[in-house]
Structure formats: C-alpha cells, structure tokens
Amino acid sequence: MAALEIKQVFKNYGSVQVLKDIDLSIESGEFLILVGPSGCGKSTLMNAIAGLDDITAGSISIAGRDVTRLSPKDRDIAMVFQSYALYPSMTVAENIAFGLEMRKVPKTQHEAEVARVARLLQIDHLLARKPAALSGGQRQRVAMGRALARQPQVYLFDEPLSNLDAKLRVEMRTEIKKLHQRLGTTIVYVTHDQIEAMTLADRIAVMRDGRVQQFGTPQQIYDEPVNLFVAGFMGSPAMNFIRADVTRAGSGYGVAVRTARGEAAVLALPERGAGLGPWLGREVILGLRPEQITHVMPHRRDEPLVATLECTVEVAEPTGPDTLIQIRLNEQDVNARIEPRAQAPVGQAMPLMFDMSKAVLFDPATEARCH
C-alpha cells in the first residue's frame, strides 16, 4: 500500500496555475525529495500534502486514506518548517510535547516520549531552555524532535537545512539520513539543493513551473535525465551541453566535434532504443557530464565508447581531490574533471579521454531527450 499517493493534483491561484497534473506515489518507508528552482511549486505541493493549502482538483491519500478534504491535524502528518517555527514562549520540552497534549495523549506518556525523542536527537541537555537560547543547529534538532514525537504516517520537511551554515548543513544531512535509516519513516522533503536531493532521496521528483519533470531514483535522474532541464539542474558542476551534428561512426552513429586546435573527430555513441537514423546530419545537444571527460586512464583506453582527444586547457580550477578544467569543443566551453597531477599548464594541450557510454542527446527544439 502506498504511504502517500498524489493523483492528478492541480492548484490555481486565480488564473495562475501553480501545480499542473501532479502524479506521485511512494511506498511506506521511502524518502521522497521534491526538488526544483524557486517558484517551481514544490513548497505549494508540500503545503497541499499537509493540508495547509487547498487543491483545485485531484486527490491526495495518506496510508490508503483519502485526506484531500481533511484538515491538517486529521491527516496524521508532522512537518519540519524552514524557519523551525518553534513556539517562542515554550521550553524545548513543552515544544516537543505540545502536539501530544493537543492530541489528548495522557500526561504520563508525555515525559517518556519527550525523553525518547531527546535521546534520539541528543538534545537531553536542552529540554529546559527556550528556543531563543538555542543555536541554529539546536533549533533544527528541536524542530525535528517535535515532528518525531507524534510518530505520524508521513513526515514533511520544508527546506529544513537552508538556514544552517555550510558545515552544519552537511552534518545535519547525514543525521537526517541516519535517522531515516534507523526509524524507517516515510519522508517527503522539499529542497532546492540538488546535492541534498541526490544524497538523501530514495526517489526524486524534479519540478519546474508546477510540473513534475521527472520522477525516479537519484541514479535514474542523474544518468537518464528526460530533458535538458533535469540534466542541467541535477549534478554539480553541471552537465556539459555541446551542440554537435549526428554522423555515421562505423556501423553505428556518433557526433562530430572539433577541438580548439582544429582537430576534427567523431565520438561514437552507444546504441539505444530506436536509434538515431532520423537525426543523421542534424544538430543535437550532446550532454556529457564533466566526470566523463578525464585525463587518460590507460586501462580504459580500449573500451569501445572511449575516445581520446588533444585539448587545450583554458582555465583550471583545483578543488582538491580533482581539478576542473575548461576546454573548448565546437567553439563552446566544456568542463572536464581530471586528476590534479595530470593537468597540463593553462594554455597548453593535454590528451583527454571521452567516455561516451553515458552520453545523452537532446532535441534542440523541444529540449526533450532524443537518445
């Protein structure tokens, strides 16, 4: 049985459609991430799941029960807000117990529940404090504690880490992942941070302009993006988009490229689906992630879809574990990720290995995936 099922949900504000035909379904214990740029409708969708916003059409079920017309408190959900929304006049313990109190849970159970949650999140020593006396990370924990105390069917997290500094954000990210693995809870999580989405999710829904662009596992979204938007949004540094013509390459197809030094080459493409017959001789957008263009690794050189080209290093950005270099291909900037020690000085040429096995092609007109 699906823990959360969203069917054909629409939401209009006046004449503006902010959610268009949303269909999503996750199983119990799954971690769903709604990701997209600001204004894509992800927060509206979360509010619709919570019941804080009405939907115009469609239905929402939680644990098999239609909750479309139910008020937030009757949906058996808990939410962690971006601003934490801790009740300022109550202590941490009172904050955590408030939901229990409202649900008429006997007083004797409050303490046990507060203690359990506090232990889980390591906030035992903070229970008597008011929110104003807590640091950002501590408030974040208390906000999660408040959600955990009620043990609802579904947890909703609305950009919970966006108010934390970079280091704490990574720590809390791991913490949330651990918590999810330990408790096996069903979580819906909104973020605009694609790294958060990749690291945390079991399933990702990438949204834009009120529509779900793609719904799948992180690896599917990363390796098999359905359109240019998803491909460009997920992954950092972003996927390279190179305009190139489709040509013959032996018995299959390839794309024609020309380096900054004037060397022309054909990069063979993997065979997939219906093939590229109709695209022969036409321009497509080649999508190639930076890590698929690397320094030459001799043991992989003979793989069928690997090609080597001499390219001029235009810019080099060392990140520590590897170095990002910029080269030019078909007169467009292209990023490559290489071993720091393999880098040639800026302005000089070095051989780069192109792994085309995961290359994807997009239709320049519709921006949809075409290979």
Binding site: A50, L52, S71, P72, K73, I77, A78, M79, F81, Q82, S83, A85, Y87, P88, S89, M90, F98, G99, M102, R103, R146, R150
Partner: protein
C-alpha cells in the same frame, strides 16, 4: 585649541541646549506644582515661578475631598472612583477584543478581510463629535444612558479601531509558520491564540493598555455628554471644580485638582513607558 577640548565644549553646548528645552517643557508642570502648595496670599503677592513662602498641603486636601463641583462639595474623590470604574473595564475589554480582531485579521484572513481592516482604520480618523447624537440614541435604546456601563460601551467601541490596528500590525510580524505548525500539532483557533500568540504579546499589550488608559481616562467629551450627575468621570468634575465660582478663585486648589486628575496616567506611563516605546517600534517596523 586641542581636539579634546573642542569636543568638550561641544558637549557642554549640547547639554545646555537640551537642558534649556527640558526646562521649557517642564515649566508648566513646575508652575502647577508650585502653585498647588502655596497659600492664596502667597499666590497674590508672589510671581508665577516664585518659591512658596510656606509649604501647605491644604489645597491638595481640599481638591481631594472638600472642593465644590457644582452643587456637591465632596472634592474629586468620588469622581476619581467613577473614572476608575469606567476606565478599567473599558481598557480591558477594548484590548481583549482588539487582540482577537488583530489575530483574525493577520492570521485567519478571509475574503474581504483587507477591506474590512481598511474600513476599521477609518474609525481611527473619525472625529468623535459625529458620533454624539447617534450614540446617545443607541445608549437610550439600550437603557444605558447616564450609566457607567454606557460609558464603558462607548469607550470600547471607539477604542476598537486603534487596538485592532496595534495587534494586527504586531501579529503580522509573527511568522505564519508558527500558526501552521500549531495547526499541524492539532491546535484550534482559540488554542493557537491563547497558547502561542498571547504569550509573546506582552509589548503590544502594554502599548495598547497605556494608549487606551490615557485616552479613556483623559476623555472629556463622552464623559460630559453621556454621564449622569453621579457617574461623571474626574475630567468632568475637574472642569466643574474650576468653573464653580463662589467668591475667590482658588488657583492653588485648581492646580492640585488638575494634578490629581492627571496622576494615574502619569503613573501608568512611568511604570510601563519603557515597554511603550519598544512595543510601538516593534509594530511599526513590520507593519
């Protein structure tokens, strides 16, 4: 001249100017205080600001319990009590309703609530004189003419525009996510108000109470129009006391009476003034 000594002279000039202004504003109060402890002879022979020849509390006692306000000669004491009976409930009720109004208008918006708020704001700019006759008819119809309850009702109604404005603007600054969180926790309309919002409302409650207390205590118009002989507030009694002319004009008693009538508002402001400024700016910045 060195830099420090120039700064020092600048300071002296600054403080001298400030002191002069302060003296200018305090002068009337000083005159009242000095006059209220002088004997009548002293007043006649001395100047306005001259130090009393002999301190006397007689005028204060007379103003409190002996001076004539029209035909009664019981001083201000009974009317002070009237004012208390009018002011305390009127302040409490108008603040409570204002808080609830502000809560609804900021956190439970409904279709047309902004228009409703706009219309309510008009009430802040309405001259109270236009209300006099319809209000008199209403009070008569309700059987509340010339009663303390009638005056309380008038003050509550006329205060609602400002109290609602205060609370609405304050609550607009309280994050909506707090309300949403409470809704998800299962709290209802009144629980959210009582448990979440009211505990953080102290600054604005103080502002509202000071504002309303000053308005209602100092009111003369409604007091003189809607009160009966036994229900006159202290402001009306003060007017009568000063205007009752039987023989000599007792300036010292008049001054003492005026000070007595003004004391409660002064007291409220001194006790809560710090919160007043804080609360006003808190509302103003996020309005």
């Amino acid at each position: 001249m060195t830099e420090t000594s120039r700064l020092f002279l600048g300071r002296i000039a600054l403080y001298a100017a400030l002191a002069a202004w302060a003296a200018f504003y305090l002068a009337p109060l000083a005159v009242m205080l000095l006059t209220s402890v002088k004997t009548l002879d002293d007043i006649r022979t001395g100047t306005l600001l001259s130090w009393p020849a002999a301190l006397t509390l007689e005028p204060w006692l007379k103003a409190w319990s002996g001076a004539c306000t029209g035909i009664r000669c019981e001083g201000l004491a009974p009317f002070m009590w009237n004012s208390v009976l009018i002011t305390l409930p009127a302040v409490a009720i108008s603040t409570a309703i204002g808080a609830l109004n502000g809560y609804v208008l900021s956190k439970w918006r409904f279709r047309g609530s902004e228009l409703f708020f706009g219309a309510l704001l008009l009430g802040c700019f309405l001259p109270f004189q236009v209300l006099l006759i319809p209000m008199a008819q209403t009070l008569k119809a309700l059987g509340l003419a010339n009663t303390v309850s009638g005056l309380v009702l008038v003050h509550v109604i006329c205060g609602l525009a400002s109290t609602t404005l205060f609370f609405r603007n304050y609550y607009v600054g309280v994050p909506d996510e707090l309300i949403r969180a409470a809704k998800l926790d299962g709290a209802g309309f009144f629980t959210i108000f009582w448990r979440i919002l009211l505990p953080v409302s102290t600054p604005i409650i103080v502002v509202c109470v000071i504002w309303q207390f000053t308005q209602i205590w100092n009111d003369f118009l409604f007091g003189v129009v809607y009160s009966g002989l036994d229900t006159q507030p202290v402001t009306v009694a003060l007017n009568n006391l000063v205007n009752t002319s039987t023989g000599v004009k007792e300036y010292n008693v008049d001054m003492a009476a005026a000070l007595i009538a003004a004391l409660p508002t002064l007291l409220v402001y001194v006790l809560a003034g710090k919160h007043f400024v804080r609360g006003l700016t808190a509302g103003a910045v996020k309005g």
